[in-house]
Amino acid sequence: MISNKKLRELPLHLMLLPGVICVILFNYIPLLGIVMAFQKYIPNKGILHSKWIGLDNFKYILSMPNITGVLYNTVFIAVMKIVAGVVIPVLFALLLNEIRKEYFKRSVQTLIYFPYFLSWVILGGILIDILSPSTGIVNQFLGFFGIDPIYFLGNAKWFPFTLIISDTWKNFGYSTIIYLAALTNVDPSLYEAAIVDGANRWKQTLHVTIPGIVPIVTLMVVLSLGNVLNAGFEQVFNLYSPQVYSTGDIIDTLVYRIGLIDAQFSVGTAIGLFKSVISFGLIILSNKLAQKYAGYRVF
């Protein structure tokens, strides 16, 4: 017999049912596909009949000549993006917080986080045009100062920095708003106390404002730890080309080329799995740290 309480909960289960089905079909079933990483997967035979080869795919990956380069590129680009993505928004939030004219403050906010809402296809189209060495407006501008045209997207030396700068350009407005929100929540009585103690504006910033946002900055840094292997597939995919593979190829683009273009499904899956496992570990670690140092619980 079904108890009264269970009957009462029934509508809640029913509400969840469609979502649960979708998640099983499109999130959990692909998880089963991970076994391909340990197989020599052949599409005609399917997962059930393909040959098991243990860790051979992983051995193959480690023997690939460009794998260390790709790993290095991924971590370098991702870490630089994380650093720039914290330092610059914090600086801008501090500067914006000093503005007293509301309309100016609001206009700046409106403009700086507009690029955040555009896709990397649109931004990629814009960047390819404005960064072109022959007709691009950026190189025309640099030409005024006698600087020779720079091939930002085609020169392996410049490419990673083009990625880092353009990513920061797209996203810093968004983070600035978060930090600015934290700044407006700093207790005003602290400023009053500081003024009584004779602190000038600079001292107030140093001893009241900055300590006031340290917790949220810590939190954001710790949480971004989970992104150390996410160098930004959508951006790199739209901006890179074979001549910058040496410094611009990242794990995700490698998975795409090996897995979908070359149709080496098992190898692609194995690289993807390698990335997922490390990222998963980092996310768990970052949440543990966030809980310990910032008293934050994500889940």
């Binding site: 407006t184 400023y191 273009i261």
Partner: protein
């Protein structure tokens, strides 16, 4: 209430920090501050203005590099050309269809999942089991290849369902909405339940009407998300005529994926690989975002505040 409190605090902090006369160094700082902020804001918007002026310029002026931030030889030729291209219009149509269908599915799923998860474990014993079931999908996924194989084995390749079903439950939005639901007073629901209302009635008659700001916020996130997606279109759709706009633009503006282009399409691609028509297409694809941007901005802060409220 909270908003009002915030305003009071802000004005308080401003008046208390106002210094009657600025010192020299302070004046220099203020000038420096306005300059750097103004300059940065310009940098964020100038590229788009440049593309806009390029799209209204003649091809020859653009090719010669005369165009700066104002159209040279003003012409609508690029727009006429782009809007007369059946591929562009078709892709635009597919995108609209995808946004509409994806929106309905995402909103329904968000509400239906967020509401049960907003209950306490004492009212809904399985709450934590379900919560972890959904959160796991944020932490770990099969990756690109297994996801592709799954969609393929379901026979969804080249259909619009491949674009809207895999992300049917937007977990981030669910968390946002769940936190909002938790913040609403329980007493209303309790009163309604004493009068005989069930969970479905309570959700439709109490929670949804009270959550309009939260729903508006996630609606905008969903609309922008679907409009901007391109990679799923690129891999799950085989025939270019079923491409949504952003995937189509990816192939014509960024890089041509030769494996998927037939020789007949090749000719079209070379025809439009001209700077001004590319600029016109980029601008047309950004236009819907520009239109909803004022609303985005309005609800954006609310979304941030909501997301930070922890139950």
């Amino acid at each position: 209430m909270q908003n009002c409190d915030l305003k009071n605090r802000r004005s308080l902090s401003r008046s208390s920090r106002k210094t009657p006369r600025y010192s020299i160094s302070r004046k220099i700082f203020i000038i420096f501050n306005y300059t750097i902020l103004g300059f940065t804001s310009l940098i964020c918007i100038l590229p788009l203005i440049y593309v806009l002026s390029l799209s209204f310029s003649s091809s020859s002026a653009a090719a010669a590099g005369y165009v700066k931030f104002w159209p040279v030889d003003f012409t609508l030729a690029s727009y006429k050309f782009v809007l007369s291209k059946p591929e562009f219009l078709q892709a635009f149509g597919v995108s609209l269809e995808r946004v509409a269908l994806g929106f309905v599915i995402n909103i329904l799923m968000s509400v239906l999942v967020a509401y049960p998860l907003s209950k306490e474990t004492k009212d809904f014993k399985w709450r934590n089991v379900y919560a972890w079931f959904f959160i796991t999908t944020m932490l770990f996924n099969g990756g690109l290849i297994p996801t592709y194989m799954t969609i393929k084995s379901f026979g969804l390749l080249d259909t619009i369902w491949a674009l809207v079903l895999p992300g049917a439950v937007p977990v981030f939005n669910v968390i946002l909405l769940m936190n909002f639901f938790r913040g609403l007073p329980h007493e209303i629901e309790e009163a309604a339940m004493i009068d005989g209302a069930g969970y479905f009635t309570s959700l439709c008659k109490i929670y949804i009407p009270l959550s309009k700001p939260a729903l508006a916020t996630i609606s905008l996130f969903i609309l922008v998300g679907h409009w901007n997606s391109w990679f799923d279109g690129l891999i799950f759709i085989n025939s270019p005529r079923n491409y949504p706009l952003q995937s189509y633009l990816q192939t014509v503006i960024i890089g041509v994926d030769y494996s998927k282009v037939s020789s007949e399409n090749f000719r079209n691609i070379s025809e439009i690989s001209d700077r001004t028509s590319k600029a016109a297409q980029v601008f047309l694809a950004a236009l819907p975002i520009l239109i909803v941007y004022p609303f985005l901005q309005k609800f954006f802060m609310k979304g941030l505040v909501m997301g930070s409220v922890k139950g």
